[in-house]
Symmetry: C2
Subunit: 209 residues, 2 copies
């Protein structure tokens, strides 16, 4: 539709800007509370010594997530949509004015918590990363397939809670493979740090230095 076409044009502008400035950009997606911000906190505290990191935060209301990130002393901008259930390329483009992209190697865009709508809106990122959590049930990939279909990486988070859930990891990975066989899966606990090393290695492999 006309809205999506316009969005994709602006997304392409963003992607060119990121390319020119040498910034690797990730669109971080998940349902509400699956652990996007906590994963960013963990990632930033581990990587900020060696990689220049920045964050664009997207939420319907509040700047709570941006304030959490700013405690880690990296550049962060908060987008408040006031109602829209997904970020769009135009909102991201406007937010970039508050960042010095030339000073960044890696930019995370934390999207609004939503497993449906954000999948349809290219923001200009290089990679889409969807976080699923062990407390949501293992059938989310086939119940919300478009999100898993368009993503490049899936982070299965909150693995520390596995003993207390009926989550079947093999079943989850079967479902994911059904929807997107080329999806790379990491299993993490943003809380305990388990599994984070592989995720960081993947990130570093994509950052130009």
């Amino acid at each position: 539709r006309k809205v999506l076409k316009k969005n994709d044009e602006i997304a392409e502008e963003n992607r060119n800007t990121f390319g020119n400035q040498g910034v690797f950009v990730i669109n971080l997606l998940s349902s509400p509370g699956a652990g996007k911000t906590t994963l960013l906190e963990r990632t930033i505290s581990r990587l900020r010594g060696e990689v220049k990191l920045g964050v664009v935060e997207g939420d319907v209301q509040t700047d709570r997530d941006a304030r959490r990130i700013s405690k880690l002393d990296v550049p962060v901008v908060q987008i408040v949509t006031n109602g829209a259930c997904h970020l769009e390329a135009k909102l991201v483009q406007d937010a970039l004015a508050s960042l010095v992209l030339a000073d960044l190697d890696l930019l995370f865009i934390e999207n609004v918590g939503n497993l449906v709508c954000p999948a349809s809106f290219d923001l200009g990122e290089h990679k889409k990363v969807v976080i699923a959590s062990t407390t949501e049930g293992d059938d989310k990939p086939i119940k919300y397939p478009n999100m898993f279909h368009v993503s490049d990486v899936c982070v299965l988070n909150k693995i520390d809670l596995l003993p207390h859930t009926d989550f079947d990891t093999a079943q989850f990975e079967n479902f994911t493979r059904e929807i997107n066989p080329s999806l790379t899966i990491f299993r993490t606990s943003a809380k305990t740090g388990e599994g984070i090393d592989s995720w960081l290695a993947w990130l570093k492999s994509h950052v130009k230095k």
Copy 2:
């Protein structure tokens, strides 16, 4: 907007139909995996002796939830939206053709897992019930305020997992009060059955007998 106005007209038709047939109708909302279907399973197994129950299931893809409900031997219809991130009154109206409303006292409509969009689409229900879970973080009411603003009841689910989370129940209730002081809060574990009695009592108090 025109879409919402048209939706609300059809919702009003639905509400009249439900009233004429003496059915009490609940729109059940939450983020993906907060426990809508499990709460329905628990509720139906406890109430089906004394209340005539039916369910309309809404999902982007699959009929997994409807199949779970049908194991409990109550009438159930599955709506598959194929992409839309929320149910609309027209979809519900069409689904009603597969139910004998005259034979029902209580109808649940399980909405698509999404804390944003479904809040804007009246389906013709009498009450909106939002489920929040202890594993999503206690700030969801202020980060996704419209959903909590339009709801009549909030079920805080997965209380059995409280010992394993940093969820602050008092903080959650403060946030909820900030957004909607008249919201009734139930604390449940759909898994263990804890707290379910009060929820059932509230349901029964609204069912015409």
